[in-house]
Symmetry: C2
Subunit: 173 residues, 2 copies
């Protein structure tokens, strides 16, 4: 994850649920690219492919509601989406996204002012989103969460922590 994420947005409404993001029958996959081939497919032919031409998803309230499935975040990453900015997230989606290294932030003030195709820039360290000369703050992430995102997810983070521990141990001996 880069500390600054920028690109064109696609705008969803409220209550986009995890059945919409990735249908249950595709949960047999774990590979982001494979999952992304089925992302949003319930919305008709080419919907997922269209999303590949955008960089960031902006959504209304309760994004990721419905069944708790971590593949929803993975499938979005597989589409090449770099971040999701919503008015609010369903709890399980929120945590799954962090675990999977998909940057997400709640910024209700941004929602009404953006339109599909607009360019935004997200500064993670500053906790600000830039859009048309204006800035929209969002709650800064705890350092621990940013560390997970920067390393690409919880698994990578734990591997790095383990490696650190082993290094410390080998220096002791």
């Amino acid at each position: 994850m880069q500390p600054v994420i920028q690109g064109r947005i696609f705008k969803f409404g409220d209550n986009i649920n995890s059945d919409i993001i990735i249908a249950g029958r595709h949960l047999i996959y774990i590979d982001p690219e494979r999952l992304s081939q089925h992302a949003f497919e319930v919305l008709g032919e080419g919907f997922g492919a269209k999303l590949r031409s955008f960089d960031i998803l902006v959504a209304g309230r309760n994004f990721g509601c419905g069944s708790a499935r971590e593949q929803a975040a993975t499938a979005i990453k597989g589409l090449g989406i770099k971040a999701v900015v919503a008015c609010s997230f369903a709890r399980t989606f929120y945590r799954n996204a962090i675990n999977d290294g998909l940057p997400i932030m709640e910024c209700p003030a941004l929602y009404p002012v953006v339109e599909e195709g607009d360019a935004i820039r997200i500064d993670l360290a500053a906790g600000k989103i830039h859009h048309l000369e204006k800035e929209y703050p969002f709650p800064k992430m705890p350092d621990s969460v940013r560390a997970i995102l920067e390393l690409g997810g919880l698994a990578a983070y734990l591997k790095a922590e383990l490696a650190k521990g082993q290094m410390a141990k080998s220096q002791e001996s």
Copy 2:
């Protein structure tokens, strides 16, 4: 409603819920055209408008699940959609559609063989859907349900029944 409905299909997947069809904040409207302007708007700019170029929706399982709101059927009618064929419907959507005069039928066998843009022809009296030289049967509707659909919904049906009663009464006197 015509006894034969034909046209090009748009194909959805499973579990398209009523929040997706029409967001809760638009339930203040009852006019089909007004509702249809907001139909499917949570799926991004132009999604509802795109559906206007299709005649019939085909969907997977559990179409219309989620909050029970009769405006979901009304909004679909407002888009100019003449029928919805799904593998299965959520119960409340099913009954709301009949009440509102939107023809719907369950035909799981059709689902895997059609693609977006295909032409189909639905023969309501025969209980058959024609697609590429083949026929797919669906359970015939009871006469009472067909009568409601033919008159454009439950309100129109009740008005017609009342008028019949009054006519019978005036003939008696």
